[in-house]
């Protein structure tokens, strides 16, 4: 390892250190440090606010210890790995300390709302000025050594260690969920032992970390052997395990609402609505490749159609039962999908995105407008939407409304999977890759786009119908663009075209903010970040469908980039170049 390589390695570490500072200061200035402070991770010792800033510095330091791709000749010697980690972490911490000095000197909080003393106090580890800065440098040193040490650990140990730390954070964040569940099960003692004022107690944290560490070590040491044994197990025995797992899964899903009480059932119900919409948009964006930013239009049409059909005080006043209204709403959905889809489906990419966004806004404004007030109730919305009736079950209770939502989610997943594996699914795949060639192999592009659009509309409208029934009243104000972007974010996070991806995406992006109120304020900031990071780091999503993984894994097979390039771009309609 000659000097220039070493020089470059350390320069890169310094750069990452600065990035760490910028990240930590950014997290502080947008108020996350201050807002998350009250939530304890380990009560008395570690709070979420401080943890987020520290995590940014630690991650950049850990990144600094990793040799760049082009390194090639094996890992750098041990002392340099540690050196790079320490350099990055110390620079990061020093930068934060410098910012604290700056914040004391200049009246930053006149401009930046969150640059107040409370934030400085937290970042300064609660100590007065000079001591705080020194403490920060010390913490930086410690982080550097930890980052370097972690890098030098054999992967067998590193994996479980990281898993243990992440587990402690997750179990602590799940406190509101776990506390209610344990309360419901009458296990106050356990809840008292593990949790205290919003975070894990020290013994609780140690137990969780220890357990995960043990499982991790066991897995990495003898995991291979276990997996082989399972593999050579005779088919029917393996099938037995599968059935057992499946039954356990069903029972859990059916018992869940009784387990978690009415508030969490409400949250799970909302997540269910977004899964339904995710499944619908997944067909439009994931399968057919049509970027639709106006998906809220169908959500709104479904909600209003149901409200008008079932509410006794609506313009029709028919007061139909929910189960009679649903098929009518699905018909209206398919029709609106065709009418909205037909004129716009010849557009591609950016143009289709912006047109659908426009249509979404048109629908929202019309529903809100005085012009349509006789039919849609204008700003007053539509009230008294009765819950569905079935064998005198009170479906206004979230625990009971959970079951019909679950039924439609399962039905939706079944339809989506069936279509994906059929002739229709293949046609959509082909269309998404190269529309002109798909036409040349006999696929009627317009019809298949309309099919995807209408199916998406039906899913959206059913979700809208359940929204109307869940709230008991419908107002136009929250049926706006942010709903479309939320649904888009959850299928991007989960993985475009992947059904399990939609479900995971919905729980993370819709469930979490409902549970943790601190996140609620940063929900949209996080969605924006998710869209950017996912596209840069893992475009195929967390749980990619096999098809999508091949498609978006560009940089692996670099050599055929050129082949990919020569293909005729399917991008824009032929347009005139700028300039006369």
């Amino acid at each position: 390892m000659n000097d220039t390589m070493l020089g470059r390695f350390y320069r890169r570490a310094a750069g990452l250190g600065l990035l760490g500072t910028l990240g930590a200061v950014y997290v502080a200035l947008i108020g996350i440090v201050e807002r998350f402070e009250p939530r304890n991770i380990v009560t008395g010792y570690l709070t979420l606010g401080l943890l987020t800033a520290a995590l940014v510095v630690f991650v950049t330091a850990y990144r600094a210890t990793e040799p760049p791709h082009s390194w090639g000749i094996g890992p750098p010697p041990r002392q340099h790995v540690l050196g790079a980690g320490v350099l990055a972490a110390v620079i990061g911490a020093a930068g934060v300390a410098l910012f604290l000095v700056l914040n004391r000197a200049l009246p930053l909080d006149a401009v930046l709302v969150n640059a107040n003393d409370r934030m400085s106090e937290i970042l300064g580890l609660g100590l007065e000025f000079p001591a705080g800065a020194l403490a920060l440098l010390g913490a930086g040193l410690a982080f550097g050594v930890a980052a370097g040490g972690l890098r030098l650990l054999a992967p067998r140990f590193r994996g479980p260690l990281i898993a243990a730390v992440v587990a402690v954070m997750l179990v602590s964040l799940m406190e509101p969920f776990m506390r209610v569940v344990l309360l419901q099960l009458g296990q106050n003692a356990i809840s008292g032992f593990f949790y205290q004022s919003g975070g894990l107690t020290v013994p609780g944290a140690i137990i969780v970390a220890g357990a995960v560490l043990a499982i991790g070590l066991a897995n990495s040491l003898r995991g291979e052997a276990v997996r082989e044994r399972v593999a050579e197990m005779p088919a029917d025995q393996r099938r037995g395990i599968q059935i057992a797992l499946f039954v356990v899964g069903i029972v859990f899903l059916l018992v869940l609402p009784q387990l978690i009480g009415s508030f969490l059932s409400e949250v799970v119900g909302t997540v269910g609505l977004y899964i339904l919409m995710g499944l619908g948009l997944n067909i439009v964006v994931g399968y057919a490749g049509l970027l639709d930013l106006g998906y809220v239009a169908f959500f709104a049409i479904g909600a209003y159609a149901t409200a008008i059909l079932t509410s006794p005080v609506s313009v029709l006043g028919w007061g139909l039962s929910f189960w009679v209204a649903i098929p009518i709403v699905m018909l209206i959905a398919a029709l609106s999908g065709l009418i909205i889809g037909a004129p716009v489906l010849r557009l591609r990419g950016d143009y289709l995105a912006i047109v659908t966004l426009g249509i979404g806004e048109i629908v929202r404004i019309l529903l809100l407008s005085d012009a349509l007030r006789p039919w849609t109730g204008g700003a007053q919305g539509i009230l008294q939407v009765p819950p569905p009736e079935f064998a005198d079950i009170d479906f206004f209770q979230p625990q009971n409304l959970y079951y019909p939502i679950l039924a439609f989610v399962v039905l939706g997943a079944f339809v989506a999977i069936s279509l994906a594996n059929s002739r229709v699914g293949r046609a959509w795949n082909a269309m998404r890759e190269d529309e002109d060639v798909a036409a040349a192999t006999g696929i009627n592009i317009t019809n298949y786009k309309l099919l995807a659009f209408s199916l998406g509309a039906v899913f959206g409208c059913i979700a809208g119908a359940f929204l109307a029934v869940k709230l008991g009243s419908i107002f136009p104000h929250n049926l706006n663009l942010l709903v479309s972007i939320t649904v888009l974010s959850l299928i991007i996070l989960g993985g475009m075209g992947s059904i399990p991806g939609v479900i995971v995406g919905a729980f993370v992006l819709v469930g979490l903010p409902e549970l943790l109120r601190e996140f609620a304020e940063y929900r949209l900031l996080i969605y924006g970040a998710v869209l950017i990071v996912m596209m840069l780091w893992r475009p195929e999503g967390l749980i990619p469908s096999a098809q999508r993984k091949r498609e978006l894994r560009e940089h692996e097979d670099d050599e055929d980039q050129w082949a990919h390039q020569t293909g005729v771009p399917t991008a824009m309609p032929a347009v005139e170049r700028p300039g006369p």
Binding site: L29, I30, G31, V111, L112, V113, N114, V285, L291, L293, A342, P343, V344, L347, G349, D350, Y351, A353, I354, V355, G358, I359, E361, I362, I365, L366, S369, D370, A371, R373, T446, L450, I485, L488, Y522, L524, L525, Y527, G528, A529, V530, L531, I532, M535, L536, P539, L552, E554, H564, Q565, P569, T570, A571, A574, V575, E576, R577, P578, G579, P580
Partner: protein, 348 residues
């Protein structure tokens, strides 16, 4: 041999034709009904026209950012509305500081110069960072990927500035020299409106000559023709794209200050709707065409201020002003369906 008449007029064509006829009939009948009622006098319509032209020139300025970026990347920078917001929201603090210290009204030209500078530089920096972090790594990715990043960037910037500067709506201090009206040919026009229209035209002419006459301008046009060939001609494509974003940012920053002259309200979410409308203007004029962006902007501004009342009031539609965005978005949908290449573009 199965002889099947090829279906000429498919289902989609039917709907498109129906749409064309419906729109034309609707506009004619609506306008006739409103004009025949004669509620709004001549000078009423003139005021609406002036307001429309002033608003339209702001859309045009922002639209230039879309057109420039589209020219080199063939991608719509969804976050351009936020670049516009970033500049003018940051310059608010400069303006209040200048007003408190009495410089703004004491020496207005100098004060205004500083405010413009702060807004334009901030927007430029945000635009360049945005391109470097979010768009450059994805230049070779499939079509959908950079588009989704742009939507993410738009949200991220919006809510970052909300957390940084607070969620409240603020307003700039009043600038004495800009209050009151000019009398042009006997017609009293707000000073702010005149300043906005004149500055917009100057900036656009400046940009036009920059792109046509200067070396960087030529490089930008080369990159927009073909990135790979331009690279072989020794043009540093990355730097040219970065410059394009920078220029788009500068123009958006200037447009921000002009916007505040007309509507004195600043908030983290002020950029999104004007951004979408500016995109409509860019497409209306012929995406990628600078003169087109100006024409598109003016047309949209006027249509948005005159349209709702002209088309709907005669038909007895209540609160027509509430439907102004419906008119703007309907125009966007119609343009993209029937004439995606815009007024000045040619169908190839």
């Amino acid at each position: 041999m199965r002889l099947r008449l090829p279906e000429r007029l498919s289902f989609v064509d039917l709907i498109l034709w129906g749409l064309r006829v419906a729109i034309v009939v609707f506009v004619l009948v609506g306008s006739y009904a409103t004009l025949s009622q004669g509620v709004l006098g001549f000078d009423g319509w003139r005021t609406l026209l002036i307001v429309g032209v002033a608003q339209g020139s702001i859309y045009a300025l922002i639209a230039l950012g879309y057109t420039l970026v589209y020219g080199v990347l063939f991608m719509i920078n969804f976050a351009h509305g936020e670049v516009f917001m970033a500049g003018v929201f940051t310059a608010f603090f400069a303006a209040t500081a200048l007003a408190d210290s009495g410089i703004l009204n004491g020496n207005p030209l100098f004060g205004l110069a500083i405010i413009f500078a702060v807004s334009m530089v901030t927007s430029m920096v945000v635009a360049v960072i945005l391109e470097r972090v979010a768009y450059r790594p994805l230049r070779r990715a499939p079509r959908l990927v950079p588009l989704i990043t742009a939507i993410g960037a738009s949200l991220f910037l919006q809510y970052t500035f909300r957390s940084l500067y607070g969620s409240g709506v603020r307003s700039y201090p009043t600038i004495e020299i800009l209050t009151g009206t000019f009398d042009i040919a006997g017609v009293p026009i707000q000073k702010t409106q005149v300043v906005v229209i004149v500055s917009a035209i100057l900036l656009m002419v400046g940009l036009y000559f920059f792109v046509q006459r200067t070396r960087t301008g030529r490089a930008m046009r080369a990159v927009s023709e073909d990135k790979d060939v331009a690279a072989m001609m020794g043009i540093n494509v990355d730097r040219v794209i970065s410059t394009t974003f920078a220029i788009g940012g500068l123009l958006a920053g200037a447009a921000g200050i002009l916007y505040v002259f007309l509507f004195n309200s600043v908030s983290f979410s002020m950029g999104f709707l004007p951004g979408i409308k500016a995109f409509t203007a860019a497409v209306l004029g012929g995406i990628g065409n600078i003169v087109g962006a100006m024409l598109g902007g003016l047309f949209l501004g006027v249509l948005e201020s005159i349209g709702p009342f002209l088309f709907l009031d005669g038909l007895g539609v209540p609160s027509t002003n509430q439907l102004r965005d419906v008119v703007a978005f309907t125009l966007l949908v119609l343009v993209l369906i029937f004439r995606p290449y815009g007024i000045l573009g040619r169908k190839e």
